[in-house]
């Protein structure tokens, strides 16, 4: 299995790593059974993601997609961040091996989960804005064997 140079660059020197102490939105997706957990922290001010960081337990692709996804939403309005697709993350990384595409889905969902958490903390129901977060889509396990059912 081969990773692109871009994936290796983001894996070797990931951007925006660590806990963001003054975050006002935190989202975590994935589970240990599937081998990937992503946690995203955002700090939103006036509808703009002023700062973002991540912590990830996972493979090289999971770390690289986390890094790239945080880059792509940093400084952006919330509505733009919500439009970020896993496909855009994959493209920005010059592609991912097929078996690793689920990592990019996790990154997209981690951002949505963080934004949903931000809205909740503001007393706003996130569902009409963010939609339902279906974690199982990302994990790729069949439903019978998956603990995230």
């Amino acid at each position: 299995m081969l990773y692109s140079a871009k994936v290796m660059e983001h894996f070797a020197n990931p951007h925006n790593v660590g806990e963001l102490k003054d975050a006002n939105g935190v989202g975590e997706v994935g589970n240990q059974k599937c081998g990937d957990i992503m946690k995203m922290y955002i700090k939103v001010e006036n509808g703009i993601i002023e700062d973002v960081s991540f912590m990830t337990f996972g493979c090289g692709a999971a770390i690289a997609t986390s890094s790239m996804a945080t880059d792509l939403i940093k400084g952006k309005p919330l509505e733009d961040a919500l439009k970020l697709t896993n496909k855009a993350v994959v493209e920005a990384l010059d592609g991912l091996p097929a078996v690793k595409v689920h990592c990019s889905v996790l990154a997209e969902q981690a951002i949505k989960a963080a934004i949903a958490d931000y809205y909740k903390r503001q007393g706003i129901d996130p569902t009409p804005i963010v939609g339902n977060l279906e974690e199982c889509e990302a994990c790729g396990h069949d439903h019978d064997s998956c603990s995230c059912n």
Partner: protein
């Protein structure tokens, strides 16, 4: 990074200088087909028979009981399918194996299940050993064959082969063992251990890839796997892989020369590596410490995922492997690590480092200087590690 430490010898090994030297004439001027009657054909025949003698001598077999194959997986397929299909026609449609065999055995058994065979998968204990009593209890009147690996490829545990062999012989059931990881690292005596069939592979013992062998005890009849010409006494067709067979003969001789000295040196290095890595907090040794191959270290690091570990080690010039799902191309971690009771999360964070006859103490020291830094770096970005309590970080849930 100029530095390169190869600690994945259970995956494959470097061809030794002596083996390559022995092979070279058979890749150049001595190209005759061993089945041909003229001089260069006869020379090739002699070379193959010499190699056969060397393989036989290494495991206490007779030369006529050694059949060269294309790889260890072919040997496993041939032994199990060949025996099952032959005995299946006599109504013996039951196979016994263990849950943590190599896929060459497990997937062969799955294929036979689709042909109507019934397979019993005996469990292994937490340290990674098959209990011979479980094998005996599983034997039925219609059992065709028992296949239990000599040593596990991921955790290096050496199975009680002689005991299982004695049980199978007493019950008159064929006993096959996949000795691909064991060969060269333990002393094998197929006669004394009541082994009916044994698979081995060249590239794990510093011979080239693409050559293996199957020992079939005299008198044991199994169906052919590769039909065609009269090579290998008419039991495995195909023009012989001449140079590689010569290489296998040389490698098996080399690996058993100064055997005691080699094993004691490798055991010392392995223990240094194993104990050094276990100094890292929240780690776990996978597989028992006793009856373990001198080549094998397998450790789980809490809160860390294996593929990231391998990539960072690679960037520091250390080559290893992992039971992580990410390295298997599936989402499930190693069936071996799950079989000895590891949680998925801990199984994902495993690292296998396997030594070769050429591994040096300096390489072990270098590896021990790299791994802790890499683990620490991954833990610093791990949400799992972040959420663990001090007790958990001390290894309480491993």
């Amino acid at each position: 990074m100029d530095r390169f430490v190869y600690l994945d010898n259970s995956a494959t090994t470097k061809i030794s200088d002596r083996v390559l030297k022995a092979m070279m004439p058979w890749l150049t001027e001595h190209y005759g087909n061993p089945s041909s009657i003229y001089a260069i054909g006869r020379e090739s025949r002699v070379a193959i028979e010499e190699a056969r003698g060397k393989v036989a001598a290494a495991i206490g077999a007779k030369p006529a009981e050694i059949y060269f194959t294309g790889c260890g997986s072919e040997s496993d397929n041939w032994a199990i399918k060949g025996a099952a299909r032959r005995l299946g026609r006599q109504g013996k449609k039951h196979i016994i194996t263990s849950v943590f065999e190599h896929h060459a055995v497990l997937h062969t058994c799955k294929a036979l299940e689709r042909e109507g065979f019934e397979v019993t998968y005996v469990p292994v204990d937490k340290l990674g050993f098959v209990n011979p009593a479980d094998v005996e209890a599983a034997i039925r009147p219609d059992t065709a064959i028992v296949s239990i690996m000599y040593a596990n490829n991921e955790i290096g545990t050496i199975q009680p082969i002689a005991e299982i062999g004695a049980i199978c012989r007493a019950h008159k059931v064929l006993f096959h063992t996949d000795a691909v990881q064991a060969i060269g690292n333990v002393k094998i005596d197929v006669a004394a251990q009541n082994i009916d069939m044994l698979s081995l592979s060249g590239h794990k013992i510093h011979a080239p890839k693409g050559v293996g062998a199957l020992y079939i005890r005299k008198g044991v009849m199994i169906d052919n796997f590769m039909d065609g010409g009269a090579q290998e006494s008419g039991r495995r067709a195909g023009t012989e892989n001449l140079a590689s067979i010569v290489g296998l003969g040389e490698a098996i001789t080399e690996t058993y020369e100064n055997f005691e000295e080699k094993v004691s040196r490798m055991t010392m290095l392995r223990n240094k590596l194993m104990d050094g890595l276990l100094q890292i907090p929240c780690t776990r040794l996978n597989g028992g410490r006793e009856n373990r191959l001198c080549t094998n270290v397998n450790i789980s690091f809490g809160g860390v995922e294996g593929e990231g570990l391998l990539l960072l080690l690679d960037m520091n010039g250390v080559a290893g492997s992992s039971g992580s799902a990410c390295t298997s191309g599936s989402l499930d971690p190693s069936h071996v690590l799950l079989s000895i009771g590891l949680d998925h999360g801990i199984a994902h964070g495993s690292l296998r480092l396997s030594l070769g006859a050429d591994t040096t103490e300096e390489e072990i020291d270098y590896t021990l200087s790299v791994v802790p830094k890499v683990v620490e770096r991954l833990r610093a970005m791990s949400p799992v590690w972040q959420e663990w309590s001090d007790e958990e970080r001390a290894g309480c849930n491993l």
